[in-house]
């Protein structure tokens, strides 16, 4: 198992390096001139050139990449003398349009995205697994049909549609809540929940739809397994069979998909954050795209990649924990 984890981690580091290089090269090939974007429309050429040198855009791409990598571990100082400024390690670059270190920007926006993701994740797993279980247990009955319809409708609706629908119904039409306005949970816990409940629901309903289907099909498949029949033949209670035999084997594939879905969400729930005006990483990425704020784009892509790679490692390890066939392969 230790060898297994070490191998996965080594692989993950390699993968991250590759992704970062690829991202960096990709963005450096964009037709936009990052130096020209550092000051407004009627900028003087000599100012552009000065900024170019200050930010290191005059160097060859690979050297820029090297400086970027070094910055992650050692921090990075831009310019010299009085106008010099420093982004401490781990530095992911400097956004000229926002006049801020990218790391600081991510540190400010990430918690919002994380709260959103964790809440939605918990909700959708609970909802999806329980609906899926009910559907499987009441196969062919009205509960099953209801759950199947829900999942069929849910997977086919786009996020912004559900988001806007929820927003319109609850806030504008029924007037049940004020328009959500994000507040930190440490300052105003009620405001925090008020702001996040609708986005949580939006994301949860969507993903729960596909997890309902996954759980239902997984359980129905498991119920036909010989070992479940042997469990019944042992005289075990229905609840025990469902927990130890049916749900257990249905959950293994779900864990894999859930881990990756969750990681993707941590990289920024772009649409949901935009619809509900949450100051998270997703909304920040959108702004960066619109304003061609390259350092921010590189930074957020890198963070998203980190989560995906980490999630893969965690899922692999979980897989080993959940399935002894993986763990004890001779």
């Amino acid at each position: 198992m230790l060898v297994f984890i070490t191998r996965r981690l080594l692989f993950a580091v390699g993968l991250l390096l590759a992704v970062s290089l690829f991202t960096y090269l990709l963005f450096s090939m964009l037709p936009a001139d990052p130096a020209a974007l550092t000051c407004g429309k009627n900028c003087k050429p000599d100012l552009i050139e000065a900024n170019r040198v200050r930010l290191g855009y005059d160097k060859p791409v690979l050297e820029q990449y090297w400086l970027f990598l070094k910055g992650i571990f050692a921090g990075r100082t831009y310019g010299t003398g009085a106008t010099a400024f420093t982004c401490p390690a781990p530095s992911l670059g400097y956004s000229f349009s926002q006049h801020e270190c990218v790391t600081t920007m991510i540190a400010n926006t990430f918690p919002v995205t994380a709260y959103l993701s964790i809440g939605a994740f918990v909700l959708w797993m609970l909802l999806g697994i329980s609906l899926g279980s009910v559907a499987a247990l009441k196969r062919g009955k009205w509960q099953d049909r209801l759950a199947t319809t829900f999942s069929a409708v849910g997977v086919s609706l786009p996020t912004f549609y559900i988001g806007l629908l929820v927003l319109f119904t609850v806030v504008i039409w029924l007037g049940l809540m004020p328009f959500p306005h994000y507040e930190s949970p440490f300052e105003n816990i009620v405001g925090f929940f008020n702001a996040l409940i609708l986005p949580w629901l939006t994301l949860a309903v969507l993903s729960a739809a596909s997890y309902t289907r996954l759980t239902r099909n997984g359980m129905l498949e498991a119920m036909n397994e010989d070992f479940v029949r042997l469990g019944i033949a042992k005289g075990l209670k229905r609840g025990v069979i469902l927990r130890r035999y049916v749900l257990r084997s249905a959950l293994v594939p779900i864990v894999t998909i859930a881990g990756l879905d969750f990681a993707a969400l941590l990289g920024g729930a772009i649409i949901t954050e935009s619809v509900f005006s949450l100051p998270g990483m997703g909304r920040m990425s959108i702004r960066a795209v619109v304003e061609s704020d390259l350092p921010v784009l590189v930074g957020t892509t890198m963070v998203a990649a980190l989560f995906i790679v980490l999630a893969n490692v965690v899922v692999d390890i979980l897989y080993g924990v959940l399935d002894p066939r993986v763990r004890t392969k001779s």
Partner: protein
């Protein structure tokens, strides 16, 4: 010069690379599925191959039909080396040797009609029978006992036995001289097995076919084979005329295998004096040193662990690979 043998395999070896180990996953191990097998199929006769699950029967069948390439060794078809045949040569060779598979359910494409299935080899070979394709398929269907009117039906409309007939018709349409049948009756009910075995015997007689017939059911092989080869962990341990091998096995494994077969006759109960093998077949990744059967053999000595017995003549036209072959009567009522 035309050889006496329709098909020969010389020192055939097939290894499959397997799982990885070590931090970087470099070190490789091999499943030694077939590990030095020589055999020859006399024209117009049947060579039976028996052995327990995983001993390499199917792999051997796929090697001699060139569905997979051997790691080592030589295959002769009508005396001609086809070990590395490719392209046109391989295609020509496939008209002479055809395969019938175990599972009549999965070896037929469910979306093709019976007519399409049976005539498919003709298209692959770009052959046009003189009497026309449809007529040729009708003849094949009649030959194997299918109603030619069912030309346009689909596999799911047929029973297991009928599907196996379809598989046999498909294998015969190119007029091959050799059929390699991998457990052709194992998936069928007893009453249907007998129908297929009778059909194969009849076809052999009328068309002069040579068969390699693989089965784990010893009585089925006894019935159909002229010669029989007993395999254990990738090697042949005993081979010879089937009445010789069956009536007086010389290798301890052959003896144990035969004695384990339940006899359908309550009066001939022999559960008491049966040879009981203990344990399981070892892994083909790390087979035991020396004789591979020694871990389960009641006659094994030090010598068996150190020296690998070679396949030597053992009386009555058989070959046996054992340091201590069992006593057998010198001649058997011939």
């Amino acid at each position: 010069m035309i050889s006496d043998f329709a098909l020969e395999g010389i020192d055939l070896v097939k290894y499959f690379p397997t799982g990885r180990s070590g931090i970087l996953g470099r070190a490789r191990e091999n499943v030694r599925a077939v590990d030095g097998v020589s055999l020859s199929l006399r024209r117009g006769t049947t060579l039976g191959i028996v052995g327990e699950s995983g001993c390499g029967k199917s792999t051997l069948a796929r090697v001699v039909t060139r569905l997979i390439e051997p790691t080592h060794g030589q295959i002769l078809l009508d005396g001609e080396d086809i070990t590395h045949a490719s392209g046109k040569e391989l295609r020509r060779m496939r008209t002479k040797i055809q395969m019938v598979f175990q599972d009549p359910y999965s070896s037929l494409n469910p979306r093709h009609s019976v007519g399409q299935i049976i005539s498919a080899p003709l298209q692959v070979q770009k052959m046009k029978p003189v009497q026309g394709e449809r007529q040729r398929v009708h003849e094949m269907m009649e030959l194997v006992g299918l109603n030619p009117e069912h030309y346009n039906r689909y596999p799911h409309e047929f029973s297991g036995g009928q599907r196996q007939r379809i598989g046999i018709a498909r294998s015969l349409i190119l007029n091959p001289s050799i059929i390699v049948a991998d457990e052709p009756v194992s998936a069928l009910d007893v009453s249907i097995q007998a129908q297929i075995l009778n059909l194969m015997a009849k076809l052999q007689e009328t068309l002069g076919l040579s068969y390699v017939f693989i089965a784990h059911d010893l009585s089925v092989v006894h019935h159909i084979a002229d010669e029989v080869a007993v395999m254990y962990l990738g090697k042949i341990v005993e081979m010879g005329p089937s009445n010789v091998v069956y009536s007086s096995p010389s290798h301890p494994y052959t003896k144990a295998l035969l004695s384990a077969v339940p006899v359908a006759d309550p009066k001939r109960h022999h559960r008491q004096d049966r040879i009981r093998l203990t344990g399981d077949v070892p892994s083909p990744v790390n087979p035991p040193s020396g004789c591979r059967f020694r871990t389960r053999c009641w006659l094994a000595t030090e010598k068996c662990a150190n020296e690998e017995p070679s396949l030597n003549p053992g009386g009555n036209g058989r070959l046996v690979a054992c340091h201590y072959p069992l006593e057998t009567p010198v001649s058997i009522g011939s």
